[in-house]
Symmetry: C2
Subunit: 194 residues, 2 copies
Amino acid sequence: MHEEDAGLRARLIEVGVELVTREGTQALSLREIARRAGVSHGAPRRYFPTHLELLSAIAREGFAALGAEVTRALGDGRADPRAQLTTLGQAYLDFALANRGMYELMFRHDLLESNHLGLREASLPLFDVVVDLLTRAGLRPGVDPRIAAGALWANAHGLAQLWAWGSLQPTTGSAELEPLLRAVLEAHLGPEPQ
Amino acid sequence: MHEEDAGLRARLIEVGVELVTREGTQALSLREIARRAGVSHGAPRRYFPTHLELLSAIAREGFAALGAEVTRALGDGRADPRAQLTTLGQAYLDFALANRGMYELMFRHDLLESNHLGLREASLPLFDVVVDLLTRAGLRPGVDPRIAAGALWANAHGLAQLWAWGSLQPTTGSAELEPLLRAVLEAHLGPEPQ
DNA sequence: TCCTCCATGTAGACACTGTCTACTCAGCTC
DNA sequence: GAGCTGAGTAGACAGTGTCTACATGGAGGA
C-alpha cells in the first residue's frame, strides 16, 4: 500500500521503473505505462508533455539507484582510495548486470531528453566521486583527473555493454571482470604499492 | 549509376546504409526504406521476412566497412604489433565517431537478429586480429589474450559510446582519446620499452 | 445555497509503424 | 495458348505518440 494515493505523476514513474526492470526497454510504451497505472492513455500528458520526458524521469530514478548502490558499497569512505575505486567499479558493474533494462535505458540517449530533465546532473555526482578518489589516490603526473575518470567510466561502461550484449566470453562473469578494471586503474595510477 | 538494376535486395541495403549514415537510426523504418527505394511497403518482405533482418543486413555492411577501414589503417602489417594496436584503436574510434548512426545500429542488439544473420561472425575477424596482435606484442604472463582483447575492445567501445553521448568533456577529441587507449594497452602489455 | 472556475482525467481522431494476406501481372515453360 | 511461378502492389489490422475537444468533480466566492 505504499502507492495508494501517491499522485499520478509518482505512480507513473513507479510503474515505469518496475516495467523496465522486469520486461526491458521495449515494454516502456506510453500507453502501456498508462494502462498499468490504471489511467487512460492521455493522462500522462498532464505531467509529462512527451513520452521522452516520462522515460527521462524513469531513467533519473535509475541514476539515483545506482548512486545509492555505489555509496552503500563505499561505506564510510575511510578505506584506501585505490581500494575504494575497485569497489566502486565492481558495484557499478554489478548494478549494470543486475538491472539490465534500467541500465540500458539510462544510456539510450535517443530515448531521453538529455538536456531537459537534468539527466546529466543526475550522473554527475558519481563522476565527481571518481575524480575525487583518483586525485586522492595520486595520479601519475600530468594526467588530468577528469580525463582519467572518463577513461575509467568508459571502460566500465564498455565492459557492461559488451557483457550484456554477449560479446565477451560467455564464461566471463562479474568476478572475472575485476582484474580488467584493476589493470586499467593501474594504468592511470602506476603499479600497486607493496 | 552504380545502383541501376542491382536487384531490390541489394538496393534496400544500399538505401538503408545511406539513410542510417545521414539521418541516424531513427530514420530506418521499414516503410521509409521501401519508399526511398521506390517500392511499396510490402516489397521488402520478399527478401527480408522481418524488419530486424533488414536492419541486421545493414549493420553487417557496417561491420564490413569497419573491418575494411581497420585493415586499411594497419597497412601491410609489418609494423610493431604494439604500434599496430594503437593504430587499430585509433581507426576504430575514428570510424565510430565518423559514422555515428551506423555505429549505433551495429550495437543496438534490440534492433538486430544477433544470431540469425551471422552478425557475431561479422565482428569476429576484428576480434581475432586484436587477439593476434596482443599475443605477438607479448602479454604479461598469465593473461588470457582473449580476455585482454575483450577488455581493449570494451574500452574503445565505451570511449566511443560516452563520447557520442556527450558525457566526456566536449573538448575531448579523437586525438585526445589516444593516450587513454595507450594507457590501457600498457596495463596489459607492461610498460613500453625504450 | 448556488455558481463559477479550474485542475484532472477521458475519449476519439490523426498519422505513422510492422506484419499479414489477398491480389495483380509479367514472363516463362510445357 | 494454358498454366504456373516469382515479384511487387494494395489494403487491412493492431499498435504507437501526439493532439484536441470534452466530461467531471471539488474548491472558493457571492
